[in-house]
């Protein structure tokens, strides 16, 4: 091993009262790898996702990010270490403008916090990065629009842009195509594929086509465990996986 794994999940378990949501989950990602988590509802994908993002703290096991133990860290601490995430249900600052949303994302990334005196406009680094994001993602026209007034598809897009604002080392995408039309889904998949190759990406997806299109590797979960792992061919050939998905899209 010459370098740390980007993400190292070891024997992670999570219990809610008497319910075992995750049992002995082990998973590793190399830097730049694209891994997709598949599995039916209730398989534990979201629980695992949240254990990595920090919204849930694992009951047992160890999670590390580029060698650093993050198992007990709060979500904001993990974000400061280079982890970014999107939310399955769009979670933007609805009463603020697109530009303000991006400014906050950049402030978080650049850790421009607890600055009380000078107005926001005077922070050139933040402003320039936010403006660059607007230009890069074709959002200049809606910069001053209140997020609440945007279409669902536009909001989903900004959801991803927010996560990219700080050039994260690892990006967690939570069902980014949920609720989108086929055309929009295609656009999002293309966008994800076009992301810098050094960015490690972990994604939850329901749409199998999107999953196979984007993933270097796929992990299938069932009842709180990972039951299959590998590339597209391996997964397609796995009998257990096809049993679970029989009749289910």
């Amino acid at each position: 091993m010459t370098a740390y794994k980007a993400l190292d999940v070891q024997n992670v378990a999570k219990n809610f009262g008497g319910v075992r949501a995750l049992t002995d989950v082990t998973l590793a990602m190399a830097p730049g790898e694209r891994l997709v988590l598949l599995g039916p509802n209730g398989a534990g994908k979201t629980t695992l996702f949240h254990s990595i993002s920090g919204n849930i703290i694992a009951s047992a096991g160890r999670i590390s990010l580029f060698g650093q133990d993050i198992t007990q860290l709060a979500p904001d601490a993990r974000a400061r270490l280079g982890l970014a995430r999107t939310f399955q249900i769009t979670n933007l600052f609805r009463q603020l403008t697109v530009f303000q949303n991006l400014q906050l994302a950049v402030c978080g990334a650049q850790q421009v916090t607890f600055k009380f005196i000078r107005p926001m406009t005077q922070y050139a680094d933040v402003r320039e990065r936010a403006e660059a994001l607007l230009a890069e993602w074709n959002l200049v026209d809606v910069a001053d629009t209140i997020v609440q007034n945007l279409s669902y598809g536009e909001q989903r897009q900004i959801e991803v842009v927010m996560a990219l604002a700080g050039n994260p080392k690892i990006l967690l995408l939570g069902e980014p195509t949920s609720g989108l039309s086929p055309a929009e889904t295609h656009r999002v998949a293309a966008m994800v594929r076009a992301l810098p190759r050094d960015m490690t990406i972990l994604m939850i997806e329901h749409d199998m086509d999107v999953a196979f299109e984007i993933a270097d590797r796929i992990a299938v979960m069932h009842q709180g465990r990972i039951i299959a792992e590998g590339d597209e061919a391996t997964i397609r050939g796995n009998k257990q996986v096809s049993d679970i998905y029989l009749g289910v899209e």
């Binding site: 919204n55 609805r94 603020l96 303000q100 400014q103 906050l104 402030c107 990334a109 916090t113 007034n149």
Partner: protein, 307 residues
């Protein structure tokens, strides 16, 4: 937006000329309005910008007042000690409230802030030997350099204006934007790398500090402190000023303060039933104008904002 500096200049002229133009009763009333405008703006920072609904804001207002009164009247300390001490107590109480209340959200937060404030009131009410209990503490003297109505007015005007400048700067700063982000979505802010709790704590303490400043000015205005300074009704009055003026607009609550103070002035000269009037204002505002006066203005005159 070039209207704003003009508006400020106009307001400045009006406020500075006031004591030379109107009878001293109205100077006193305007002083009171300025004090409560500050009080209301401090609450708006908490409710409107940070999204923390606190029902116990009068606690900070009152503890500052009581500290000053006790130190000045009972212990005969100079205002140069009492005044900062009052502010310090307000900040300290703000920190205590924040530590306890920020463990909760939503209805729990409302309940906890209300309960904590009532406990403080109960202490002021019950601790007769220190606070004078129900009778309060009379006999506070204004410092010599502001012993007349007009100079006291200018002191208040100066301090409130300065505070407003600070609050506006705060809103416009990265910290202010972060507070609004927290109001909109705590989880999103966390995911972006912000320590949400710390931000809320600081906001709480700052709001308490300005409320304490308002309380300090009010106790010198009144020359008297009583448990009323801390009562739920006082918290309710400042809350309705914020609501009527418009939550999250900072200056709206200042206007709301003027409206409520003027209304109270009129009502209490006619009848004893201020509490009934306040209750009716609450119900009416909730039913008919939940966005407050600024909200009504925006709906009427600025409907073209939406693309």
């Amino acid at each position: 937006m070039a209207r704003i500096p003009l508006f400020i200049a106009l307001a400045a002229v009006v406020f500075v000329a006031l004591p030379f133009v109107v009878p001293s009763y109205y100077v006193g009333l305007t002083t009171k309005i300025l004090i409560f405008a500050l009080f209301a703006m401090s609450l708006d920072l908490l409710i409107g910008y940070t999204g923390l609904a606190s029902l116990g804001h009068a606690a900070f207002f009152g503890i500052s007042a009581y500290t000053i009164a006790v130190l000045s009247v009972k212990l005969r300390m100079s205002e140069w000690i009492a005044f900062p001490a009052g502010l310090t107590m307000a900040i300290a109480l703000g920190a205590v409230f924040a530590l306890l209340a920020l463990r909760a959200r939503g209805s729990y937060l409302l309940m906890i802030t209300l309960a904590l404030a009532q406990v403080v009131w109960g202490i002021a009410f019950g601790w007769r030997t220190m606070t004078g209990g129900d009778d309060g503490l009379p006999g506070l003297r204004r410092p010599a350099f502001v012993s007349d109505e007009t100079s006291f007015y200018f002191l208040v005007l100066g301090l409130v204006a300065a505070s407003t400048v600070v609050l506006v700067a705060l809103i416009r700063s990265p910290f202010g934007l972060a507070l609004q982000g927290i109001r909109e979505s705590e989880s999103r802010m966390q995911a972006l790398g912000f320590n949400v709790w710390r931000h809320q704590f600081v906001a709480f303490v700052i709001a308490a500090a300005f409320a304490g400043l308002a309380g300090a000015l009010y106790v010198y205005y009144n020359r008297f402190v009583s448990p009323d300074f801390l009562h739920v009704v006082r918290s309710a009055e400042v809350l309705i000023m914020v609501i009527i003026g418009g939550v999250g607009t900072l200056l709206g609550p200042a206007i709301g303060a003027a409206a409520i103070i003027l209304f109270e002035d009129i009502i209490s000269s006619q009848t004893q039933h201020w509490l009934l009037a306040l209750g009716i204002i609450y119900v009416a505002t909730t039913l008919f104008a939940p966005r407050g006066l600024i909200g009504l203005y925006r709906e009427r005159f600025m409907a073209r904002r939406k693309p």
